[in-house]
Symmetry: C2
Subunit: 338 residues, 2 copies
């Protein structure tokens, strides 16, 4: 468990592209962020209050998070002094970069001296078992996608939050680095060795009370020739009672791979259902999550209505219209759990 | 590339169960084995000529292979002196155990002194790319299974050998540790990080001449809740023009997981075809490989005939009856490649 709240460190970043993690934390965990810090040469800001590690610690921060991507995932030597300072002020350090914090002797030494911890969220923290598909108690929902990067994390987080607000017992289960930083725990699925993908997901979402929901962050897509293996392990490990299909209506082919077509949504859902039935024969779709950010309101609503009519389930853009219809459905149709 | 031929080292093993790798090498690469060696307390023999590392080197051996599994995959300290001796005699060392040879200082030092190499076949030797599904020239066949451990490696090796004997240009492409030891190269797919499974397979079977066959060793099963992710990455990376379904007729459920049923073979093939079409729309099954070792001859032949009639394709037990019908089909129907 990573201690919160966080100070977000942006290093010497000069382009917003490289601060996706920082913006994700700002937008999705504002209650867990006390402010931002960066080196003098940085040119990007999250628009948060600037706090030095010392001031952040005084404001209650428990950890400093590297909110940036760097070329090759390396941690520049120029960041190390700031991280040592943060450790000295009583903050843990959190990184999703490829270079491990634990490979930098100054940080290891400082962490020891000041009694703080280094969190490499790209490193799987456990040796996971091989998945066995044995039924676990509790309810599970998994977000799946026609492609990568179209809202699976945001949909899951929005839904977990909406369920909690409705008084329903639910946890967001992170499977990627940003999700792990936001929720403070999870499994970095893309870094798990192939034989243990579904076992890692079984570990991530253990047996729970019969009415407890685990809302699991999806990864990849069954239709992505590079990442489908991850998706399949995730689907089998999740044993989802319910799935939400995430889609970006602008995409007809997989992002960056114009030779790979995305099938019609009904076909996409049929394929996910077939897969998921291996470990949960009762699995079903309970909604479609559309990323309509590029469409004016009337077009977005028209698409949503049309898909609702076609697929007979709630359709929404979670950022624009929330997920209340899906929460209604979960509340109405899963009250007596298997 | 691992240099051959090999001396097989059995350590102090007392049970045949732990010598699967040694027996696999003996049965499948006898032309690459000069003999066996073990410690005095060993109780298992492969029935090969006993040669010390020195005598094996004199007989032409280039490497000593650890032909055993050990508890927890550890290399016992009692093996180290024999391995140092082997290095001193001019042999490389090959291991598929979890403990890396390169983590044992005496071996690293001896390898340096004697100018030999340590081969950890469980360690992926490369940083693989993410798979992109772009069409590569050449022909590819993948063995897939209803379950794990029912003949995918043996079927692929038998077929590759039969193609070569027929004068057809073909390579066996190993995806597991024993296969890598046998063929001297390959990708240890179960040790590749999840995001790079299909990319590793694309690397393993690169573009080739239009009539060249890569015969790819399958792994896992689409119906195994622990390993399906590996299988899916392998199917997408392989871009197989042809698949052979491997099946053990005794199994109705996944081995060790009685709660997971194996679907009918026609359904199994439909699911594999659907998956494989993502990266090769023309993929098809060209045969079924049955493990009939537990059945008397008349029963085995009856099963084979019955499945041939049902599925209209060659059915065989490669160990009992060879794979000539499948070679005939490949030769007849894939001569003009895409």
């Amino acid at each position: 468990m990573i201690p919160k709240p966080y100070l977000v460190f942006l290093g010497d970043v000069t382009e917003p592209t490289y601060t996706k993690t920082g913006f994700g934390l700002r937008d999705w965990a504002p209650e867990h962020i006390v402010g931002e810090w960066s080196l003098p040469q940085a040119k990007v800001s999250l628009g948060l209050v600037r706090l030095s590690p010392k001031d952040a610690a005084a404001a209650g921060a428990q950890a400093m998070v590297l909110g940036i991507a760097t070329v090759g995932g390396k941690i520049p030597q120029s960041y190390v002094q700031t991280m040592v300072d943060a450790l000295a002020c009583g903050l843990d350090i959190v990184s999703g970069l490829h270079t491990r914090l634990s490979s930098i002797p100054e940080l290891v030494e400082a962490a020891k001296v000041y009694g703080r911890r280094l969190h490499d969220v790209r490193q799987p923290p456990h040796a996971y078992p091989v998945g066995d598909g044995l039924k676990r108690k509790g309810l599970r929902l998994l977000t799946v996608g026609t492609d990568c990067a179209l809202g699976k994390k945001y949909t899951a987080m929005t839904l977990a939050r909406a369920l909690c607000q409705r008084g329903i017992d639910a946890d967001f289960r992170a499977t990627g680095q940003t999700g792990i930083m936001i929720s403070g725990q999870g499994v970095p699925l893309d870094a798990v060795v192939a034989d243990f993908i579904s076992g890692a997901v079984e570990y991530l979402t253990p047996e729970a009370g019969p009415l407890h929901w685990d809302i699991i962050e999806g990864q990849g897509s069954l239709f992505h020739p590079g990442f489908a293996g991850v998706t399949v392990g995730l689907v089998h490990g999740a044993q989802a009672d319910a799935m939400i299909l995430c889609h970006d209506p602008r995409r007809e082919t997989i992002y960056g791979l114009p030779h790979i077509k995305i099938p019609p949504l009904s076909e996409v859902m049929r394929r996910y259902i077939e897969l998921a039935q291996l470990t949960n024969p009762k699995t079903r779709f309970v909604g479609i999550s559309l990323n309509t950010s590029d469409y004016p309101e009337p077009d977005a609503l028209r698409m949503i209505k049309s898909l609702e009519a076609e697929h007979a389930m709630p359709v929404t853009d979670p950022i624009r219209y929330g997920v209340e219809d899906i929460v209604d459905l979960l509340e109405a149709e899963f009250t007596v759990a298997a």
